[in-house]
């Protein structure tokens, strides 16, 4: 179980990105985080694996305080938390296979990895994961030769290399067209249901939230404004989350 307690983040330029956010995520849950752009969704996800250092508050995972972990322990925690990104964040000049294998870096011998050597099991695992997201044939292409949807699949395969128990997805489909968006969301849902990976996913479109998520929390200017089931978000709630002038589109 992941517990977020009173999490607050104030950036160096005094911007209050998160304001006293608390929630719990049960193992195996698919939780959506919604809110306007700039409402703190990305900061929240990055505070969980400390890509962003929280200013106050705690993130406790199975009794371990992630926020208090020293750097070396943090590495060991991070390798069980996969993450995928809106911009995919692949190394575009490297091959797909190398990108996927880089998900294994937390586990491999640091010395060998520096000369781009991975054990045979890891390479097989990488091919299996590429197979799973449906692009095994692209393993030896350069990452920038792939379309957006394919790049996000590589991102997911990379996260899977970590044998994650939690998957953080930061707007995973915001750069994709609706058809691709659904295919990516279906993969995430499948991983959530088949492997029991908890998914914490920030999303823009409410219909995606209602179709795939078990639960949703909403942020507005860093403050939690909703925590409940996706279908509970009616027009009234919608206006609370997105502001008075917002119109639903989709």
């Amino acid at each position: 179980m992941l517990e977020v307690k009173n999490l607050t983040k104030i950036y160096d330029n005094k911007v209050l990105a998160l304001d006293n956010v608390s929630f719990q995520v049960e193992d195996g849950q698919f939780m959506a985080v919604i809110g306007l752009s700039g409402s703190g969704k990305s900061t929240l996800l990055r505070c969980i694996n400390r890509l962003v250092e929280p200013t106050r508050g705690q993130v406790i995972w199975d009794g371990v305080d992630i926020t208090a972990a020293p750097q070396e322990d943090l590495r060991l925690i991070r390798r069980r938390i996969g993450m995928i990104f809106q911009q995919f964040n692949l190394v575009t000049r490297a091959s797909v296979l190398t990108n996927v294998l880089s998900g294994r870096l937390g586990y491999t011998n640091p010395l060998w990895s520096l000369i781009n050597y991975f054990p045979k099991e890891d390479v097989e695992k990488a091919m299996a994961n590429l197979e799973r997201v449906g692009i095994a044939d692209k393993a030896h292409s350069r990452a920038d030769e792939l379309s957006g949807g394919q790049q996000q699949r590589v991102g997911i395969a990379r996260a899977l290399m970590q044998d994650p128990q939690i998957l953080l997805a930061d707007e995973p489909v915001a750069s994709l067209d609706p058809v691709l968006a659904h295919s990516i969301m279906r993969i995430l849902k499948k991983l959530n249901q088949e492997d029991g990976i908890s998914v914490i996913c920030s999303l823009h479109f409410l219909d995606l939230v209602q179709q795939y998520a078990d639960r949703a929390i909403a942020l507005n200017e860093g403050r939690p404004v909703f925590d409940g089931l996706p279908r509970e978000i009616d027009d009234q709630r919608f206006k609370e989350i997105y502001g008075r002038d917002a119109e639903r589109i989709g």
Partner: protein, 610 residues
């Protein structure tokens, strides 16, 4: 309404007027300081000199003809003596006639030349009586060469010397220098070729050395990589305290191991055998290390094995260096025209032998700092706050005192301070006391931006180095390693490190943050993040900048010789000083060709790669 607007426009006009006045004064003073004098270039003497230079430069001494020397002699009695009958002159080819053919000391003789080629130049000499043909000298009669008229004749009235009387016939000689055969490359051209090759390779070696060192430094000078490196106050103090210890231990250890390996390497076959064995053992240790291990003492075991492998590797490298030096020297004698290949092995092995202890110092420093700060970090987190505080206070006091002492020791040596012990001890104690107070006031876990400190130091050093032109640096290096291309290599390499270090780190700062974020999120350590997320992004710009720098270095290496750095600049300077403009011209053409060619080539390569 119009009143304030009007006033403002008056102020504006006044301001513009004063600005113009200031600019005028600045330029007037500038002209005075730079001694611009338009009268000087008009002077006839200077214009003649300029013409000389331009004519010289316009006629590069690229080719030369073989010269044939034609000597035409006519006998002369000085003083006159009726008893001697002079032989008749052969009038079949070019010949000269003297009137009179006998003359008193210091008298005048009219020299008439016939059957010469029109336009030829003739040099006239007086040949005094000599005991043998080997002692024969030619004394110049005419100050300037004489030009033959269109009829193939010339006349010259020569004033004879007052010394050199003789009873025997003496002679006057006309000399014509004739070109013969085909033109062949001049000696200047050959020298220029040698030096231009030296120049190009000087630039190559300097660029290679500079690039190799600039790459790791550029990571330290990249803000985005360094800004998030922070360490708690307590552990950084421990690390600082251990830094000099690690440096000394590493240096000593590596020197000792190198000596050990070097001793074995003195005998070729046992040395080679030992090398094989140690390589095999290191390999086995690495294989053992690469296995995943778990358990309580796994880290300790891994660390111990790693250390053993590293020490054995250093021993093997020391052995390799000694063997390489011997092999290189041997090959130099055996290979003949390819002796430079032996020299290459010798230089690389020698370099290895030199840098091994330095590398040891650096690695020891790094290891002690990282191990010290991480272990002390663990200790400080787990122990009671008062213990942590006390530990930090001691570490900070000692670290401050030791580092201050080292720094002051350096200053004392540099300025030859009279009483070094007191000069060092008192301020060091003071710094220690200050650190003690700071450590008592500051929280043990307070983060210190170590990364930014390293970043700022790196950038400051790079900027300082970059502001000194290699032409100035080379003077210091020429004193140290002697005048010649090696000094040039070192000066250019140092400047390359500074220049490329800055350009490279700016490229690192320009890379996309996304991949770094993604790789960090997988649990990769800092080094892995650099290898997997940073390096793939910086390869193209690094190659582009290296080629650009190579371009600059070729240009610089053409003038580095002016400061004693070898290469073609040395020849240019020499020839200009000796007023040999025709030779300097050859070298200038060579420089232009090389720079233009490399400019073009590097542009092509950059296009291809980036």
């Amino acid at each position: 309404m119009s009143q304030p607007r009007n006033r403002r426009s008056i102020w504006r006009s006044l301001a513009i007027f004063f600005a113009a006045l200031v600019i005028l004064v600045v330029y007037a003073y500038g002209l005075q300081v730079t001694k611009v004098d338009l009268e000087k270039p008009k002077e006839a003497r200077r214009q003649a000199q300029l013409t000389n230079i331009i004519r010289g430069l316009a006629r590069p001494r690229l080719f030369e003809y073989e010269e044939k020397r034609l000597e035409i002699d006519a006998p002369l009695m000085m003083p006159c003596n009726d008893q001697v009958v002079l032989p008749p002159v052969d009038t079949s080819g070019r010949y000269i006639e003297l009137t009179p053919n006998c003359v008193a000391l210091g008298g005048r003789v009219t020299v008439n030349g016939y059957n010469f080629e029109p336009g030829e130049t003739v040099f006239l000499y007086f040949l005094p009586r000599a005991a043998s043909i080997h002692e024969q000298v030619e004394l110049r009669l005419a100050d300037a060469p004489i030009e033959v008229n269109p009829q193939g004749q010339f006349t010259y009235v020569a004033e004879m010397r007052k010394d050199r009387p003789s009873d025997e016939p003496q002679a006057i000689r006309a000399v014509v220098k004739m070109r013969s055969g085909l033109p062949h490359p001049s000696d200047t051209l050959k020298d220029t070729w040698d030096k231009i090759v030296e120049t190009v390779f000087l630039a190559l070696i300097a660029t290679t050395l500079g690039t190799a060192l600039a790459i790791p430094i550029s990571f330290l000078g990249a803000r985005n990589l360094m800004s998030n490196v922070v360490s708690p106050f307590g552990s950084i103090m421990t690390g600082l305290l251990l830094a000099p210890v690690g440096g000394v231990v590493g240096f000593r250890l590596f020197s000792w191991l190198k000596g050990l390996g070097g001793g074995l390497g003195q005998r070729a076959w046992p040395g080679l055998g030992a090398l094989m064995v140690s390589i095999a053992v290191v390999w086995a240790l690495i294989l053992l290390l690469s296995r995943q291990t778990r358990g309580r003492f796994a880290a300790l075991r891994q660390g111990g094995l790693g250390l053993l492998a590293a020490l054995l590797a250093v021993f093997a490298l020391g052995l390799l260096a000694t063997l390489g030096i011997r092999l290189g020297l041997g090959l130099q004698e055996v290979l003949g025209p390819f002796a430079f290949l032996g020299n290459l092995i010798f230089v690389i092995a020698d370099l290895l032998a030199i840098i091994l202890p330095l590398l040891g110092g650096l690695m020891g420093l790094f290891l002690f700092v990282s191990l010290g700060s991480s272990l002390s970090g663990r200790f400080l987190r787990s122990t009671r706050p008062t213990t942590a505080k006390a530990f930090t206070a001691i570490a900070a006091t000692l670290a401050g005192a030791v580092l201050a002492a080292l720094l002051l020791g350096g200053i004392a040596w540099l300025y030859e301070v009279e009483n070094p012990v007191r000069f060092v001890a008192v301020p060091a104690a003071a710094v220690g006391a200050i650190m003690l107070v700071i450590s008592l006031l500051v929280d043990v876990q307070r983060p210190v931006p170590t990364g930014m400190i390293v970043y700022n130091i790196t950038r400051t050093i790079l900027n300082a180095l970059r502001s000194i032109e290699p032409l100035i640096m080379v003077v210091a290096f020429a004193v140290w390693v002697g005048i010649g291309p090696f000094a040039g290599v070192m000066a250019l390499a140092l400047h390359t490190i500074a220049g490329l270090g800055k350009l490279y780190s700016e490229q690192v700062e320009n890379i996309l943050e996304g991949p770094i974020e993604a790789v960090t999120a997988t649990g990769a350590n800092r080094l892995q993040t650099i290898v997997y997320a940073v390096i793939p992004q910086i390869v193209p710009p690094y190659i582009a900048f290296t080629i650009y720098r190579w371009d600059i270095n070729v240009r610089m290496s053409t003038i580095i010789g002016f400061g004693g750095g070898g290469g073609i600049g040395f020849l240019v300077q020499q020839n200009l000083n000796l007023l040999k403009y025709r030779d300097a011209s050859v070298q200038m053409i060579a420089i232009a060709i090389v720079v233009a060619t490399l400019d073009y080539a590097s542009a092509k390569v950059r296009e291809r790669i980036v």
